[in-house]
């Protein structure tokens, strides 16, 4: 027996690798969610058509937005799930402390955000392929404006939104772990704000959405998301500082 100097980062890294192996079903759920989103996206969201001189053409608009919405919802749920007692106790079966537990969770959520971003974009490509074959391929033209740069940007933006959603989910989950009363309070606050939003014409929720959604510079957008997420994660760690485990 000897005394060892332990490092939180070392333990957190081990836990992170453990989680990638153990929570593989998170990613199979992602596939399911995105396939469902894909299914909903098969309906055109709009269209127009003209015909002249024996020639007719119709334009139909499809959107992969639903896939992204579904992916964001998945990210939120994954984050909330990670804060639950069962998942917390899995960490504390082996070596763990509060900080290493959070750090490994945050790394895991960052990874899921990236994977979610990549796969959401891939799903939207799949959508195009399916639509191409659903219609008569000989007379169908897919208008695709994506350049490689736009692709990468697309993945990163979805990943950042996902990271924002997972950090919110994590914070919400920690609040609920602190006190179950938040299960009632948080939806009440959310609906309260939505009602106020309708009454006063977009004074409460819209500014928050606009803060992220209307940002045109990618760099500023990333900064906004990363700072907000960090604040949410730090608050989560703070909220959970007195939480007991395996009790």
């Amino acid at each position: 027996m000897f005394w060892r100097e332990a490092s939180v980062l070392d333990v957190a890294h081990k836990q992170f690798v453990y989680k990638l192996k153990a929570y593989i079903n998170v990613f199979s759920a992602l596939v399911g969610v995105q396939l469902l989103g894909l299914l909903f996206s098969l309906n055109p969201i709009g269209g127009s058509g003209t015909s002249s001189g024996g020639m007719s053409f119709s334009a139909q608009y499809y959107s992969g937005d639903i896939i992204v919405w579904f992916t964001l919802f998945w990210g939120f749920v994954v984050a909330v799930t990670l804060t639950q007692k069962g998942y917390r106790d899995i960490d504390f079966t082996f070596v763990s402390n509060r900080l290493s537990h959070h750090l490994s969770n945050i790394s895991f959520l960052l990874t899921t955000s990236l994977i979610g971003g990549v796969s959401a974009l891939c799903a939207s490509v799949l959508l195009k392929v399916i639509i191409y074959f659903m219609n008569d391929p000989e007379v169908t033209v897919i208008k695709d404006s994506y350049a490689l740069q736009e692709w990468i940007l697309g993945v990163l933006v979805i990943a950042l939104y996902l990271f924002l959603l997972t950090s919110s989910g994590y914070f919400v989950g920690m609040l609920v772990q602190l006190n179950k009363i938040f299960i009632v309070i948080l939806p009440a606050i959310l609906f309260g704000f939505l009602i106020l939003e309708l009454m006063f014409g977009g004074a409460f929720v819209s500014p928050i959405v606009q803060f992220f959604a209307t940002e045109t510079s990618f760099l500023l957008f990333s900064l906004k998301v990363l700072i907000t997420s960090s604040l949410l994660f730090v608050s989560s760690v703070f909220v959970g500082r007195r939480l007991e485990v395996r009790s």
Binding site: Y18, K21, A22, I90, N97
Partner: protein, 303 residues
Amino acid sequence: MTVVRCENVSKVYGNKNGTQALTGLSVNIKENAITGVIGRNGAGKTTFLKTVAGFLRPTQGTVKVFAENPFHHIKVAENTVFIDGTMMFPPTLTLKDILQEAGRFYKNWDVQLAEKLFSYFALPCDKYHHQLSKGMKSTFHMIIGICARSPLTIFDEPTEGMDSAVRKDFYRTLLKDYLAHPRTILLSSHHLNEIEDLLEEIFIIHQGENRLHLPVDEVKNYAIGLTGEKKVIERICKNREVLYKREISHQYIYVVVKNDLSNGERVQVEGDGVKISAVSTEDVFIYLTQQKEGGIDDVLERS
């Protein structure tokens, strides 16, 4: 050296009106010894062990493990393994996977021993933790607890659901591995007579307090039983704490008192026709943690 030091530790669950599990408990646990943590149901054993492991935060008092406050302390966590029946594992990993992962977390982990024990106890490699029976789960947890070779190893009711053959094998494995690799082991159990030979010290918790903490040999000689005529026994017991009393007949009575008779007194007592008998550690434990005098017989007689 002292590994675990508790001073006046209290633990109340929930708010102030919650269940009080520990009430001003103080104890020092010696390094490299097997200590049995013994107590009745609900005495506070699990709370004590989880507080030592750093899972629970004491409401009052100080706990030091390896001279640190254990609550979420990484050093304490790295040097501690906590085994109980409610250990949680991911449902996606097979038993073999879990053992492999455990090996990454504990630096003293013995891969070969783990594999040998795994096959000896005939655990199925490809099965998942949630598919095991209660006894098999306990066996699996026990393998982790032994192979981790943590400087502080805590077993909370590790034999739950095990059959007696497996229990005996477990005690033997634990003792042999402990002798080869000494470490501080805390072992709580309901079966004191089974683990008695394993232990060096016995720590009895009663109603959240330290009722007794002594080396096993001293517990064995802690009390004696006296059988004899009522009048004689009553005279002997006048200034002594009676741990247990049972009437054998109208005239005869059996009492258990602390073993503080001098040799002279012994001879005198025996001269009065009183039979002196030894009291097993199990019985000492039961008498020390009895709620009221008399025990179950009194309840049955009244009804």
